[in-house]
């Protein structure tokens, strides 16, 4: 039976070992590091809560990048998840050449952080780039996307959104688990395609929507590639996300202790937000395979 406790434990045992060895030790060590001053060459020096005190009270860069990161996540996560869901929905039918489109839409994600993406993105958003040309067609003045601190955020948000491929693939897979009979019933009930999408599809794949939301949130808070490649955190630190700051502190300023402290603050933030999402998921995520709905 499902309640066979030993068996379940047996299955997670390898995981337990792995977690202990490859995850928990580094985890604890990084936590320990966050209470030290460590410059790689000399042994870490215990400084208590100094790092945390410093970032809380006298590090404007931290405050700035925290704000930037929050803004980025707020914009980028809904955009990517929403777009991925929409496209997955559109691509979830049979028509000639749909394979091609599916692959095409995933491609940007395969490219990942390759130089081509960096070069291209800078091209697209440069003063004379595609976006401004397109805007020009509508009579809109060219925008200094990469130079204007009010717009620069959008370049990396859009890059993040543009690479929606993996979320899309996961949604595509999830869409398969919606029984067709339900669409049929909904058709008979008079639901339009849009209503079917929002009333049948979406509720039934909420477990996966939830997953993508959490994961994309985790990713967004750790987003590094985009700002690193495209804007280098600028202009005026308007895209200086926390991950970039952590990277700088740890591997460029050789302030590993401080970097670790920053990471743990980021961790706490993401964990709190995820915790909140997990709690809220009880009210909107529907698990068809749960033994009982405990609502």
């Amino acid at each position: 039976m499902y309640e066979n406790k030993k068996l379940g434990f047996l299955f997670v045992l390898p995981f337990l070992l792995g977690v202990l060895l490859f995850k928990l030790f580094p985890f604890v060590m990084s936590l320990a590091l966050s209470f030290t001053q460590y410059d790689i060459i000399n042994p870490p020096e215990f400084v208590g809560l100094d790092n945390y005190r410093e970032l809380a009270t006298q590090d404007p860069l931290f405050r700035k990048s925290l704000g930037v990161t929050l803004l980025f996540a707020m914009l980028a996560v809904p955009l990517r998840v929403g777009f991925a869901l929409f496209i997955a929905h559109v691509l979830n039918f049979r028509m000639r050449g749909i394979n091609f489109f599916r692959s095409a839409f995933y491609l940007p994600s395969i490219l990942g952080g390759s130089i081509a993406v960096a070069v291209l993105w800078r091209f697209i958003f440069s003063q004379h780039g595609l976006v401004n040309i397109a805007l020009g067609k509508f009579g809109i003045e060219p925008i200094s996307w990469l130079a204007d601190e009010h717009f620069s955020m959008w370049t990396i948000v859009l890059l993040f959104t543009w690479q929606f491929g993996s979320a899309m693939v996961i949604f595509l897979a999830a869409l398969q688990n919606v029984p067709i009979a339900l669409y049929e019933a909904a058709e008979c009930d008079g639901a339009s395609k849009r209503q079917q999408f929002f009333r049948i599809t979406v509720p039934l794949i909420t477990p996966v929507i939830f997953f993508n939301m959490i994961m994309q949130m985790v990713h967004a808070f750790q987003e590094f590639n985009g700002p690193y490649m495209i804007t280098e955190g600028g202009p005026l630190s308007s895209t200086y996300v926390l991950a970039l700051y952590i990277y700088d502190q740890s591997f460029r300023f050789f302030n590993l202790g401080y970097g670790a402290a920053l990471s743990w603050v980021l961790f706490a933030l993401v964990a709190a937000l995820s915790g909140l999402s997990f709690w809220s998921s009880r009210y909107w995520v529907f698990y068809a395979g749960e033994k009982e709905s405990k609502r």
Partner: protein
């Protein structure tokens, strides 16, 4: 998919060309970088810096030949082979371990499940770079530096928690009817997994494979830190081999190789994508 589902989709009346047009337009935006990349592999440096168009002035496959030979002692054949030597075993152990663990989380009750699950999800929330050093030290202690083990072995312990979490979510969305029937038919837990869960999870498992393939192929930081012997470099590392800081870089050959490096990933995706939409439960019994 059954005839019925096709019907629903076909019935999406209206002009099919309109849909093609819309899809095509978006596809171009998505594909442009690849087009540009391919085009750039035929361009001179100056052209690359100044031209946004992807059509090169002339075609010359010299860049490919040159890129393939690399500036190192080995050709890209070696690096591709290395990439596969890392990727394929890693995929195998990932799928096995993640499916097992996800199965346990989604279908069993055991002591500390909630806590473990939180830990699992939690481990994804610390920025990777901060874990890099401690992890390095672990592998240094076990003497695995400069081998593929640090890149493969952790996956065998389901440490790719992203996949575990994903599979768990999928499983929790799949009704248990079939599993109950199979239990009655005499399945033990493992048989249940193999005969029922795996087929039902096929789309999700395929995406695990595809992701792990592409991500491992693209992974730069892991190999960078754990591998020091050039002969063992995977493609992702070898790609950046010839980009120094102050030297002139022949972008055409760098890009040519980037294009080649994409081929396996694109191929794998293309082959796999039809399985994303071949769920087993999509049908069930109809009336």
């Amino acid at each position: 998919m059954s005839g019925a589902s096709e019907l629903i989709l076909v019935r999406e009346r209206g002009r099919p060309w309109l849909r093609y047009l819309a899809l095509g337009a978006v596809a171009i935006v998505m594909l442009y970088p690849l087009l540009w990349l391919v085009g750039a592999s035929f361009k001179s440096n100056t052209e690359i810096y100044t031209e946004i168009g992807f059509w090169p002035a002339h075609f010359d496959f010299g860049a490919y030949a040159k890129g393939w030979k690399t500036s190192t002692e080995y050709t890209f054949a070696t690096y591709f082979l290395n990439s596969f030597l890392i990727t394929i075993p890693r995929i195998v152990v990932t799928v096995i371990s993640c499916v097992l663990v996800a199965y346990a989380f989604a279908r069993f009750e055991f002591w500390g499940k909630k806590l473990l699950f939180s830990v699992m999800v939690g481990t994804m929330m610390l920025p990777l770079i901060i874990l890099r050093l401690p992890q390095y030290l672990v592998f240094k202690e076990v003497g695995w530096l400069d081998s593929y083990l640090p890149l493969i072995v952790p996956s065998a312990f389901a440490t790719d928690t992203f996949f575990v979490f994903m599979l768990v979510q999928f499983l929790r969305g799949i009704p248990r009817d079939m599993e109950e029937a199979a239990q009655i038919d005499g399945c033990n837990a493992l048989q249940l997994l193999w005969h029922i869960i795996v087929p039902l999870l096929k789309p999700a498992i395929i995406s695990v494979i595809v992701f792990q393939f592409i991500w491992t192929m693209n992974d730069f930081m892991g190999p960078l830190i754990y591998l020091s012997t050039v002969e063992k470099y995977p493609v992702s590392l070898a790609l950046k081999m010839s980009i120094g800081a102050t030297e002139e870089v022949e972008w055409a050959s760098v890009i040519a190789i980037s294009v080649l490096a994409l081929v396996p990933s694109v191929t794998v995706f293309f082959l796999a994508q039809k399985h994303f939409i071949e769920g087993a439960t999509s049908s069930g019994v109809k009336g």
